[in-house]
Point group: C2
């Protein structure tokens, strides 16, 4: 029997939603602050501001901006919208760094450790390097290397990010596989010639808004979680 | 008693010579090829071509070039100078990748693992990201993050590299310490406000050319090896 994915050398992982659960931690920390807002709704609003903020950078309206700083800009906006005035600057700074304290999904550490034995495992996230490093240290994620939009000075889904991974490791695009829980990210990677693995994360947006995890046959692999992906790849 | 280095958050490590032994592995692999050249001399010549090659990039004579590609350019030159004509392209490519197979000094893996418990540990090397990742995977070096001249598009000793580490982690320059076996690298880092730790590597250039490892009182720490540094930092 042929080894599945035998031409693949590099696994590049999306992080927010795919490897770590942003919604759960943010909702819990916001609820714990007792601000009179719904933590789950606050988390969704914060995350919803992410793509428009990156868009402002990609159109040139803003210069290159780290996601840590975009998160803070969005936070200021949603605190206003939710009518929260009780936080001082130090408290806002601490809350903004909740993104550094996100926990891995239960399968993530073991799944990445297994995949690391056969592949080079790296991040490919729009998060900045410092943010991704803090998350890895917080959760014990055993990356071989942290790659970020910050390295390529372009946010996904810009081709420079997907093709940048292949260039960094001096391999062909088809020797890289993007691992992500988002079909739009995977489609963009596929458009650059990468292999793609979809990971089911039905609870990414919380239990009140269960995520559609239907398979798209265009993906090279479809896996329940990272342990299932390791099984399918024989790692 | 005050904690030594208590204001330090990030340890940024030079790699070639400080963490891995380039001379030993290259000399052994070249000797094993039976080309009729002295492996130790060949290793020294290859390494000696490194700074002039980077200089050609920094002056703009060459566009941005990965160290993997600089190593190949230097290799072609020294093969000519040593009169070696027996290698075909695949063999030269394999030999060039000896830099990906360098072994850590005996104290390095354990030393970095101990320091990682208290600090964020990253590379700061002129080597490209793919090269540094391969070395880490080969030797089991447990970096939190791989930073490289390739991220900053400038080679050490350009200030953009040392200050870039502080920017990536959103800390002051004085909260970063460069760990290196080379006084010129450390002096440049100090000029940017970083703390510095000198590591003794008397055999970096081989047993035939023992390295001066005299202390410079300008450094924040002077350590025999990375275990000694961990001891001094209480890590």
């Amino acid at each position: 029997m042929a080894t599945p994915g035998k031409e693949i050398k590099i696994l590049a992982f999306d992080v927010f939603g795919t490897v770590v659960d942003w919604h759960g931690r943010i909702a819990r920390e916001v609820d714990a602050l007792g601000l009179g807002v719904d933590g789950a709704e606050f988390a969704l609003a914060w995350r919803a501001g992410y793509k428009p903020a990156m868009q402002r950078v990609m159109t040139g309206e803003l210069g290159w901006t780290k996601v840590d700083d975009l998160h803070r800009m969005i936070l200021e906006d949603i605190l206003r919208r939710f009518g929260v005035t009780a936080l001082d600057d130090a408290q806002k700074r601490h809350l903004n760094l909740v993104w550094h304290r996100l926990d891995p999904w239960p399968d993530a550490v073991q799944g990445i450790a297994r995949l690391k034995r056969r592949f080079t495992v790296c991040t490919l996230s729009n998060g900045n390097i410092g943010l991704l490093t803090a998350i890895a240290k917080h959760g014990g994620l055993p990356w071989d290397c942290i790659l970020s939009a910050e390295v390529f000075k372009a946010y996904k889904p810009a081709p420079a990010t997907y093709l940048g991974v292949a260039e960094v490791f001096d391999v062909a695009p088809g020797e890289v596989m993007l691992v992500a829980a988002h079909q739009d990210d995977l489609a963009a990677a596929r458009g650059c010639g990468l292999k793609t693995a979809y990971i089911e994360r039905p609870l990414e947006y919380g239990a009140a808004r269960v995520n559609d995890v239907s398979p798209d046959p265009a993906n090279t692999f479809h896996a329940r979680d990272l342990l299932d992906l390791a099984d399918q790849l024989g790692a």
